[in-house]
């Protein structure tokens, strides 16, 4: 069975990005790790930081200067000021940590945009706040940027690996999950960051990845770079999403179809959602129609279907069913 090709943008701008050479050419660089918090525990954040600090230490502080910015979308602060002080002091040798309580649930896309704004780092790394990063992951995610045409790198998630296809030699893939992904800040700003108007929680990373590819650069999945992201499967080996995960991913799917010029999929999916036994899908369809009526849907792009990949309900060809 033929798989859809993971193509890159072919515009003049895209060619220019591709021909600019590697993003990482100097001996040292800077990286801002950014995490959007939502009711995370101090212990989970602390453990994540411990792994991050070790990875930063191994990457070499003389080669990579690592800062960490937390943006808290929780209704109540995840970290009180004294706890922030503890973490700042505990990891001061390897990380420069800062924390901001947004006081509003901005969602992941807007939260990351807010955290990236004003950063002076060469690279940004989006990281789920409860993710435990393997010791060599930072350097493995930065390493591909010494090659031309690499615009985004992604770590392999454990214990449940995502089944999306990637090239076994280059790592080229359709999209990267922002649970742990790195991209140059300049590129991020050039493509206007995450589309927070269209995406609240899910598919903001798919959309961003596609913007990177549309800009002519490769999204690389690096399986040697691993992170632990606590996902579980039910009996039968099937992933069991929560209700919130089902709702927001359904809503995001419709937005992604809309934005990446697949009105056929929009209409078919709306019908499917209307008839779905699970009420969350009906709610997602209703929300989409409300936005359509209010003319707040994103303007379609990629009308030649060069970048967007919609394969059996997924945003990449999958190697197997999960």
């Amino acid at each position: 069975m033929s798989r859809p090709a993971v193509r890159l943008g072919s515009s003049a701008e895209a060619r220019a990005w591709r021909e600019r050479g590697p993003f990482l050419t100097t001996g040292s660089t800077s990286l801002q790790v950014q995490s959007v918090l939502y009711l995370n525990s101090f212990a989970a954040i602390d453990r994540s930081l411990a792994s991050l600090a070790r990875s930063a230490e191994l990457a070499g502080p003389d080669r990579v200067s690592v800062s960490v910015r937390y943006g808290d979308c929780s209704p109540i602060r995840c970290l009180e000021p004294d706890q922030v002080d503890v973490l700042v002091e505990r990891y001061a040798r390897d990380l420069q940590i800062s924390y901001e309580w947004f006081g509003d649930n901005l969602g992941s896309a807007r939260g990351h945009n807010r955290l990236a704004a004003g950063s002076a780092a060469d690279f940004l790394l989006t990281l789920n706040p409860d993710v435990v990063i393997a010791p060599r992951t930072l350097e493995l995610l930065l390493e591909p940027f010494r090659r031309s045409a690499v615009g985004m790198t992604e770590a392999k998630q454990l214990p449940i690996e995502h089944p999306k296809e990637y090239d076994r030699t280059t790592g080229s893939t359709s999209w990267a999950a922002t649970a742990c992904a790195v991209f140059p800040r300049a590129l991020f700003e050039s493509v206007d960051g995450f589309d927070a108007e269209s995406f609240f929680m899910y598919c903001d990373d798919v959309d961003f990845s596609w913007k990177v590819r549309r800009a002519g650069l490769m999204v690389v999945h690096q399986p040697a770079a691993v992170v632990f992201h606590d996902k579980r499967v039910g009996l039968g080996g099937v992933w069991e999403p929560t209700e919130a995960e089902r709702y927001y991913s359904a809503e995001a799917a419709l937005m992604l179809f809309q934005k990446w010029s697949r009105p056929d999929l929009v209409e078919r999916t709306l019908v499917d959602f209307d008839n779905a036994p699970d009420a969350v899908y009906q709610r997602a369809a209703a929300e989409f129609r409300r936005r359509r009526d209010a003319a707040t849907l994103p303007t379609p792009v990629d009308d030649e279907h060069e970048i967007g990949i919609f394969e059996q309900g997924n945003y990449a060809a999958h190697r197997y069913v999960l």
């Binding site: 453990r47 411990a50 792994s51 600090a53 070790r54 191994l58 435990v132 990063i133 393997a134 010791p135 060599r136 493995l140 390493e143 591909p144 090659r147 392999k156 454990l158 214990p159 449940i160 690996e161 089944p163 990637y166 090239d167 076994r168 030699t169 280059t170 790592g171 690389v220 999945h221 690096q222 399986p223 040697a224 770079a225 691993v226 992170v227 632990f228 992201h229 606590d230 996902k231 579980r232 499967v233 039910g234 009996l235 039968g236 080996g237 099937v238 190697r319 197997y320 069913v321 999960l322």
Partner: protein, 643 residues
Amino acid sequence: MRPIDTSSDTVETGSVAPVEIPRAVGRFSHDNVYGNALTLLEAHRSAIVDDARDVIHLDLSCGDAPLAVPLTASLRRTYVGTDGSPDAVAALTARGFEGHHVDLVDREQIAADLRAVIGDRRVASISLIDVLQGMPPTQTVLAGVRDVALEHGAVVVVSVPNVTHADVGFKLAIGRWDVTPTGVLSASALQHYDASSFERALRLAGLHPTASRDVDRERSDQHFPEDHSALQRGTSLHGLLLALREEAGPGAQTTQFVRVCVPGPLTDEAQFVEPFDGVRPFLSIVMRTQGTRLQCLVEALTCLAGQSNTDFEVLVLGHRLTVEAQLGVERVIADLPTWMRERTRLVRVEHGRRAAPLNVGFAEARGHYIAILDDDDIPIGHWVETFASLAERHPGQMLRAVSARQDIVECTVLDRVGIRSTGSIEDIYPATFDFVDHLRQNFTPNTAIAFPRGIYHDMGIHFDESLTTTEDWDFIMRAASVVGVASAPTITSLYHWWVQGASSRTDHDNGEWDRNFQAILRKFDENPVLMPVGSTVRIRALLRERDEAVWSIGHEQGLARLSAEAFGRERERVAMLFEVQSILDSRSWRFSAPLRVPARLVGRGRRIKASTYAYASTEQLAEVVRNLRASRSWRATKPLRRR
């Protein structure tokens, strides 16, 4: 077994409490305690000492001195017996041996008394046969003996009865403790020894065992009453207890521990056993690696770093590592965050096959529970948490969750080696542990199970290193029989299945797998097996299923038989119908039709058609054939049928 006379003398010296000295009345035999003691002494001669003149052997609390004659003959040393009983000393000297009245009081006194006995002679050896158990735990006599032995470079043979003989233990397990005038549970004994406490007492006194020659008897003097179900060799109970006892350690049939010691420094270890009051992690994770797939090790350790319950330690068992592999494994461990690195250690194992590192890892484990996680397995975030939750509800049992299988390969992306899953997560193992099912095959990958430490450390159940494959199944079943299994129907780990490259599947051929399989089945039947609570329900259900299957097969066979009979009858009937048809179709019948017209005209007959008899029985058709052949028209046309 040497009988010990309970009549004893006492000695009082100053403020030191008198020590009762049991009086020996045994006889020498080549394989009793005296014979074994002499064998040890023969094997530990000192050329320098024995070549000297005036070399003696001191036999303390010698009683009737059973060693005197054989020792003198064998070692050619001067036998010198001491005893607290003047009668014993008198009897010894009357036999022509040197005897002295020496009481076992304390360290200084015994040393002084012995020095007086020795004079300017050399002591080659000293024996204390069946003496120690008659002294209180606070005794210091042994240290005094050590002092004298050290001065002369002498070896010391010491023996005590073994209170952990199966006869004693099995009766005690059923609530019986028989103190006898003499013997293993002698009324005169102030202390009872197992191998461990005996050797500890020796070390505390500065006597360091170098060899042993214990006295083994299947039936000790405690082998009574004869009809006790726990003692009789043919009973299931005895078989079960003996299997457990022998697995737990040596000495089940030892009546006397006999050790030869050299004098050395006194140790300062605790005199008595104290309950462990240190802190144990909940789980010890034993992780085998050969260091050939370091990326797998990185993945497994990263998943451990992400566990929701971090009350664990990790023992990385490096099995036959090359230097390069060892450096690789050490680097992976050194890379870990501090908190993980502090609880992870590499243990190198240079011997054995697959089971060897497991035994080493289990022996090193400090946790209340021990789990196996090979370096290519993946624990999900609640792997430890699920075990801990089960342990809280079912303390002491084995803990079993579910492991799902996933195919993987190695791949190299941008020159870096990674692991790539190639198939769905396959939930192929049962959600709960069924002991009966597991008697046929292992349905529990070792990643899915945690063992209570007592299985290994107290019950002595170890991995069978003679098995080259499926050693985990054998271990699981032996442990499950003893402690039972608590299950959580939750997938908590992924068992990786290498699609390419070497693995245990490819390292061993089918014949080897089959040999190990058969060996494990044989082991199941070697000893009685304890079944978990509820097993009789399971067995009844299986028997019912079997009965139903047998009935069903019989029923099906019956139906088939009936069908065959019915088919035969039908064939007969159809043949008869064809006969009717062939008569009616025959030329002679058709030519004779005019003969039958008159009869039909007067209403005595009707036109005969084969279809009339389509549903007639065989018998009815036979009657029709007979009637047709007897008919006037058939007989009249007989000439037409001649050929």
